[in-house]
Amino acid sequence: MKYLYYPGCSLESTGKPYDVSVRTVFKLLGFELEEIADWNCCGATAYMSVKETVALSISARVLALAEKIGGEIIAPCSSCYTILSKTNRDLKANPELEELVKEALDAGGLTYNGTVSVRHPLDVLVNDIGIELITAKAVRSLHGLKTANYYGCQLVRPEKGFDDREFPTSMDNLFASLGAENVYFPAKVRCCGGMLMTTFTEVGLKLNHDILQRAKENAADVILTTCPMCHINLEGYQSEINKKFHTNFNMPIVYFTQLLGWALGAGMEEVGMELNLIPIEHRVVGGVVTR
């Protein structure tokens, strides 16, 4: 079975560990990812606030390229996932806009008929491939590891998607079945602030401090993330947060696919673990799964 892969701009640079681990996980589970050739930036939230038709046409190009190949898109970045899905929804909801976007695509020799669905890897893993098959293929147990499962905001909102908008559980179920302990984590859908870390740094630091604090006070070993934006905010700014709030966080921030890949038997480097800024190695015990 094959999925179309849309890495998005972040996964080419700061989000590299996510890219590496997503590819590894799907390979280990026996699924093929075909990267959409010559994909472009989805437009992200920054674009959305400038001119709507331009933003929509840009993300519609990705959908059009995918439609030509045929299949479902997997978009690991929560922001890309949200934008591409929103484009699909907006075009369906507003025929006038759809007409304009069609015209714009036509100028580039493309067409889009609205048939491509956009999926997040967490959704595909839990709902298509299934926890049962994943646990059956796991070779390492996560027993003894306490995870704070952080979904962030854009993965589960605004529309009701594959999980609950206030209290999602798909990641919790996945990792619990692999042996990990899900700690109580009331910040699971709190916003990391996204670009605010750059545009209103003070606010960004505070939001991320609060998330780290919730994980730490519930004794998590690691925060699992699903989005490159959340990841870099929580990981890259920890020392600055420590300085500002007089804390001593040293919390590993790990993409959920990195830990999943490791449980499925991949080596640390195959899931890009050494690319993370805060090492997790000493915290994963990694007993062998006994059946």
Binding site: K16, W39, N40, Y47, E52, M195, T198, E202, V203
Partner: protein, 237 residues
Amino acid sequence: MMEGDRVAFKLSTPGVLPKSERKLREEFLSQLELVPGGEKIKSCIQCGTCTGSCPVSYVMDISPREVIARFRIGDIESILKSRTIWVCASCYACTTRCPSGIRITDILYAMKRTAIEEGIFPSRFPVYTMSEGFVKNVNRYGRNHEMGLLVSFYLRTSPLKLLKMLPLGWRLFKRKRISFTPMKIKRLDQIKSIVAKAESQVMPSEKASIMVASTVGYGSTTEVKQRAAGAAQGGAK
């Protein structure tokens, strides 16, 4: 931290909007028409759930609930000048919880676009500078070059901050998580023609000549048009 300045609201004759306000209102209402379900703004019950759910309301000068309240009393200007619309992180917490189904996040986007259209924001304003840099980046390469974007952003807003970013940059660089050269897509020409076409398009809301909203300024332009059409046919609607 940020000064908690409140934007003063100027009183005018009750029920009658000043001309400048009416113009902003029209611009905003035409933006709002692009928001599916935008007209629901009228069913706000002022419960404050949005403000209570917002992770950044503590630094807003006008809370999300108050945005709607100010819209109602005809004070769009202060919303457009507020920090609120720029500090919103688009996390959709408010939209998810609003009991009246109001898409507050999208309303704030509409406000932002109105402010940009009208040029109402301080120069070199961080959020706008960021969006602008982002758009340029994507138009030039087809993809966003994270490092290029951040560097040009800091150079334009606060070069000192760029120095502060160096340690993080170095740590990421050592792990090959930063690229110095932008990734260019092959069919840049295609993107360019698509963008050029989209840029030249007239939005549905711009196409219909905007009618002056009623003096109290309620109702979307579509509604005003419909009412006008109804009146023209002699039917009392």
